[in-house]
Point group: C2
Chain length 393, copies 2
């Protein structure tokens, strides 16, 4: 500690500011339950449960909430650690904490697991979806689970905030699929939500996104173990899910990142891919390892439901399409697309910003610089920390 | 004819120039055979056959050859039609013909099928690969076929040109994998090749390309019918090959194209993807149709061999890597990447142009404008017709 203080004493002013930033510390997962929930499509799901975490304190007026929905493969672990020895903190720890861009000294930050969250086998995720037991049959829902949308994810989150007596949402902010939910929050509950910040997000899934996520899904349905979604209690479509997750991993990146991280490096020096089919490149070996690891905690059917929810996304879900949906929004908006994003391109974010402005609303856009691709919105989000901090004020 | 002449009489000068452009007309596929070929990897293949087409006339000096290798899913049908009633001419008909950018009034244009060409079930493709009967066993090679490289593709093409007594290659030009072969021509036979024009091409497969094509391949190996490549005479891995070809189709495009061609249009008006898993978007239905159609004429093992050949590509295949390989080239180079290419990015083409220039060689780069993605190098190549025409002079 002495050594640390001495070091701080030697540092210049910007570092002093950084020294005031802290961690939210040890966090715990909670579970929110609803006896039943009726989807946008009109189906009723009994015994709905989703996990959530909160950082900071809810104020007396209960109006200092920042809601943080998660991205496609993520969960509600946005900041802090469960145990001091955890390898890494939550995914947005760089911007959530005391003194950070989303200042937990001021805000009560609520991060929630979505319905049909991918990570059903991760003990720190709680979700309801096709892998959940249907109380009416005593068996997993499988593909009989109703098709759900971002609005459904948001409505369950709204029920959680209602249970806390929240009177106002200071901001809805999320990355990727989290940004879709954030926009959906603003469109669904315009009088509640003051600010919306879609990070690597867009107002609607365009044809490109619809097509890309579809091909992810088809890797799963190609696996014979998928068996039309009926695989619980037997061999699961792990290989198909792993390939889907490899596609996610690469689609969320960019050639700039790939070239720097791997280049043409071999998986094993001297084992040329000309000599044998077993000899690989470093990038393909890494994709295989990442896909296999992520598939171990995921559920293939949940993945398919997430794909459909993403394809169905148009902010506001109005018959009139994107413009009619965005017209519902009263919140100030700050779009933060990643410059090198190949999945949800900045042009697509720009489209929503232009519509919002044409409608007379406050909307800004700042690009996250970098060549890391879509994932820059998670791994490099601190690059727009100052912009997020200002927007929160 | 009278009507046509009258119309021409009314047209202004630029149109007159266009009117002088013609079709190569009816073309025929020929077959080149080699009793045996020894690969870069040291394996010998007996009875090698590849298809080829030629447009224009070989001159007396036999020095007016333009060699045109083909792209990943293509074959040697680069211009003209087999029958007047063919739906479409060869893929580069816009730039190959009398008076066109690659003027068959001056040049003898030779297009050749590669080894392990994908389209084994297309009667207009002739190739040698894993689906070919191994004369030593009387059975298809399967995955026992030797791993081959762009250099192998080029060496077989070189044997064809040798058989014609060709003394000089005026230019090597190709799109995508065709551009890799064109560069390999220039690096392997520097005293023979005068010009090289890689269209949507790069000097080496970078980590991004290695990763993307790997995931295409894994769609095939995930299909249980693949059976480690041993499927001849039984059910083939058609579903896996179809998914691989859907990935190719989308990866070769761009969100700009997808949005204009499909937007959020449904496959069938009124059938919302919220209501049923069977209800689809227009883009996903089209991808399915394209993938299924292309899979019908393709061979899954050949696809895997093409993937490996692409991954192995570094122009010149020198131990010293890209710079050592490019150092072998004496030809003038014109790189023509597509501005919106997400597969072989212009930055990667630029890297080779910079190296060639640093080495004191003549190298230029002109981007093909557009938002059609990689495929702009095939479908929109006429946008750089004037640049190709000048380069050929």
């Amino acid at each position: 500690m002495m050594r640390r203080l001495m070091l701080i004493g030697c540092l210049a002013l910007p570092a002093m500011a950084a020294a005031q930033e802290g961690s939210v510390g040890i966090v715990e997962k909670r579970v929110f339950s609803m006896p039943s929930y009726t989807t946008v499509g009109g189906a009723t799901i009994r015994d709905v449960k989703v996990g959530w975490e909160a950082y900071g304190q809810l104020n007396a007026a209960r109006d200092n909430v920042v809601i943080v929905p998660h991205f496609f493969t993520g969960n509600s672990h946005a900041a802090g650690k469960y145990k001091p020895e955890d390898a890494a903190p939550g995914y947005w720890d760089a911007i959530i904490g005391p003194g950070k861009a989303i200042d937990t000294g001021r805000f009560y930050v609520v991060a929630v697991d979505s319905l049909v969250n991918l990570n059903t086998k991760d003990p720190n995720t709680t979700t309801t979806g096709p892998a959940t037991t249907n109380p009416d049959t005593g068996k997993p829902w499988g593909m009989a689970f109703p098709i759900v949308t971002m609005r459904d994810f948001v409505n369950v989150q709204k029920a959680l905030l209602d249970s806390l007596g929240v009177t106002r949402v200071h901001a809805a902010i999320g990355a990727s699929m989290g940004s879709m939910q954030a926009l959906e929050w603003a469109a669904a509950y315009p009088d509640l939500v003051q600010r919306v910040a879609p990070v690597i997000g867009v107002g609607e899934a365009d044809a490109w996104t619809i097509g890309r996520v579809e091909l992810w899904a088809q890797a799963i349905t190609l696996d014979p173990n998928w068996n039309n979604g009926d695989y619980y209690g037997r061999a699961e479509p792990t290989a198909g899910l792993a390939l889907a997750l490899k596609l996610v991993t690469l689609d969320a990146r960019h050639w700039g990142w790939a070239d720097k991280a791997f280049g043409r490096k071999l998986a094993k020096e001297g084992d040329s891919p000309l000599a044998s089919w077993n000899n690989r490149y470093a990038i393909t070996a890494t994709l295989d390892a990442v896909g296999a690891a992520r598939a171990r905690t995921g559920d293939a059917n949940h993945f398919l439901y997430l794909v459909r929810a993403n394809q169905l996304f148009v902010a506001g879900h109005e018959n009139g399409g994107l413009e009619a949906g965005l017209a519902r929004i009263k919140a100030k908006a700050l779009f933060l697309p990643a410059k090198s994003d190949l999945l949800l391109a900045p042009e697509n974010a720009r489209k929503s910003v232009d519509i919002l402005r044409r409608l007379g609303k406050q909307a800004e856009m700042v690009e996250i610089d970098g060549d890391g691709g879509h994932l820059d919105g998670v791994l490099a989000v601190s690059r727009v920390g100052p912009q997020i901090r200002r927007f929160m004020d």
